[in-house]
């Protein structure tokens, strides 16, 4: 008797469970049907992966009946130890690399080979109200070589690349990687990171600021003594570090295809050849015409520094007058 009671109880439980699941399934289907049929459904066109980082058998592109599919690593297993992000793989790959959580090889034949990295930010001013873009060479050269982007995708010269979000969305320019494998364009602020017209930060310190050192050679009062060799060298070092060292090396050692300054034939050769390159740039290369960027004083300081630092040269100044003369010569096409 007790047994049959127990059985009937179990049966009742089972039937109750069955009814609940019927209702549940019915509701599920009803909700789905509503989502499909209701013309006013919420987020009608929003495409969103419901569960990110699905395992291969469930990811909708691997064939679950394929014998190899079950052996493949589920992304979530790998990603559990990597820093999270909001979009893409939902992994912050740049941080993972910086923090050493991943150590991808830079060379197939030499796992310990170091990657050449170039540290140069390019600021691109943007129309409208969006913050300006800061393009960091550093994070890109951690992964890529110069030749991956230059010169097929981007001309290595400031202002020579007309970028557009439309092209990027269509998979061109930055969109060759961003939107396919590198973080997607929905992460607007990772590129548009510099607010318009930044307030200049005034540093108060006892020592002469970089600006003062540079000003000493650029802002000459009427009839004042021309800047000394030491002043030119000091200003030149600052300007070289800010504007030249990314390509030519902090110690003038060069970088990949960019020529070294140490022992350079140009820097140690005739002044006129050196002047020509610095002022007018070199066609079809990343060497831009610095004459358009800087005044005579700055160019004189940079060239004095290049011709005398790292054991180059013999203590001779390049003067602002020489730069002005060279400009006139270049302008007249000589």
């Amino acid at each position: 008797m007790a047994k049959s009671l127990e059985r009937s109880l179990l049966a009742r439980l089972a039937s109750a469970g069955a009814i609940v699941s019927v209702i549940g399934a019915g509701l599920g289907i009803a909700v789905l049907a509503q989502a499909q049929d209701n013309p006013n459904a919420f987020n009608r066109l929003l495409k969103r992966s419901v569960t990110p980082n699905a395992a291969p058998p469930q990811d909708g592109i691997h064939d679950p009946t394929n014998p190899g599919t079950g052996v493949l690593q589920p992304p979530s297993e790998s990603f559990s130890v990597l820093p999270p992000a909001q979009a893409g793989n939902r992994i912050d790959w740049v941080r993972a690399l910086d923090d050493g959580q991943i150590q991808p090889w830079a060379d197939l034949s030499d796992p310990s080979a170091e990657k050449d990295v170039m540290d140069l930010d390019i600021v691109m001013e943007v129309k409208g109200t969006m913050p300006d873009v800061v393009y960091p060479h550093k994070q890109h050269t951690e992964w890529l070589d110069c030749a991956n982007c230059h010169t097929e995708l981007f001309i290595p010269q400031r202002g020579k690349n007309q970028l557009s979000m439309a092209a990027i969305l269509l998979g061109e320019q930055c969109g060759v990687c961003h939107g396919k494998v590198a973080f997607p364009v929905s992460d607007c602020k990772r590129c548009h990171s510099r607010p318009k017209s930044p307030a200049s930060s005034g540093e108060a310190s006892g020592e002469a600021s970089d600006e003062d050192v540079v000003a000493a050679v650029t802002e000459q009062a009427e009839g004042a003594e021309p800047p000394s060799f030491d002043q030119l060298m000091a200003a030149g070092e600052i300007l070289y570090f800010d504007h030249c060292s990314a390509c030519h090396g902090e110690q003038g050692e060069g970088f990949e295809d960019f020529p070294a300054m140490v022992g350079s034939a140009v820097v140690q050769g005739p002044l006129d050849d050196h002047l020509q390159i610095v002022l007018a740039g070199v066609a079809d290369t990343a060497m831009m015409a610095w004459g358009e960027e800087f005044g005579d004083g700055e160019i004189a300081a940079i060239m004095t520094f290049e011709r005398n630092a790292w054991g180059n040269g013999d203590g001779e100044s390049v003067t602002a007058e020489q730069i002005a003369e060279a400009r006139t010569r270049l302008a007249s096409g000589e």
């Binding site: 289907i29 495409k47 064939d63 990657k115 992964w143 998979g171």
Partner: protein, 153 residues
């Protein structure tokens, strides 16, 4: 007693029916979703289907943990374009493209066909979950230039 037995079997049948309904609902749910493929997964089907194989699924995420982009996209000559590299098994045997690593020395060798050829049969070449793919209005809808990939699976 007979009554009870028939009731029980009726109930078990009902239970089965419910389970079937649940499975159906789950199936519908799965069908509703976008592909859950990992961001950057590339399906390559230049020759696979014609050769009677499943298409290849290349997981970018797995490879970028192990190699910088430049190793494949510079040193090994892979172009930045899904399906844009004319890869075939002969080249892989010769150590080109995937064969530079998938040779049994750096990574498992080519005899493990089903580890690469793991895609659902007939899928076309595309980069999964790309920004372009997630656009509600695909470019080309208004007669513009067609994008470089195929919208449909």
């Amino acid at each position: 007693m007979n009554d009870w037995k028939s009731m029980a079997s009726w109930r078990s049948r009902l239970l089965l029916a419910c389970m079937a309904a649940l499975v159906l609902a789950a199936g519908l749910l799965v069908m509703q979703k976008e592909s859950l493929a990992e961001y950057g997964d590339v399906v390559i089907n230049n020759y696979s289907t014609d050769a009677g194989m499943r298409p290849v699924v290349f997981p970018h995420w797995f490879h970028r943990i192990r190699f910088r982009c430049k190793v494949c996209h510079g040193d090994l000559g892979f172009k930045f374009k899904a399906g844009g590299n004319d890869i075939n098994m002969l080249k892989i045997f010769d150590g080109e493209y995937c064969g530079a690593c998938h040779n049994g020395a750096i990574a498992w060798g080519v005899e493990n066909c089903t580890l690469c050829h793991a895609g659902q049969p007939g899928m076309k070449t595309r980069v999964h979950n790309s920004t372009l793919e997630r656009l509600v209005t695909p470019p080309g809808a208004a007669g513009q230039q067609q994008p470089a990939f195929d919208q449909n699976q």
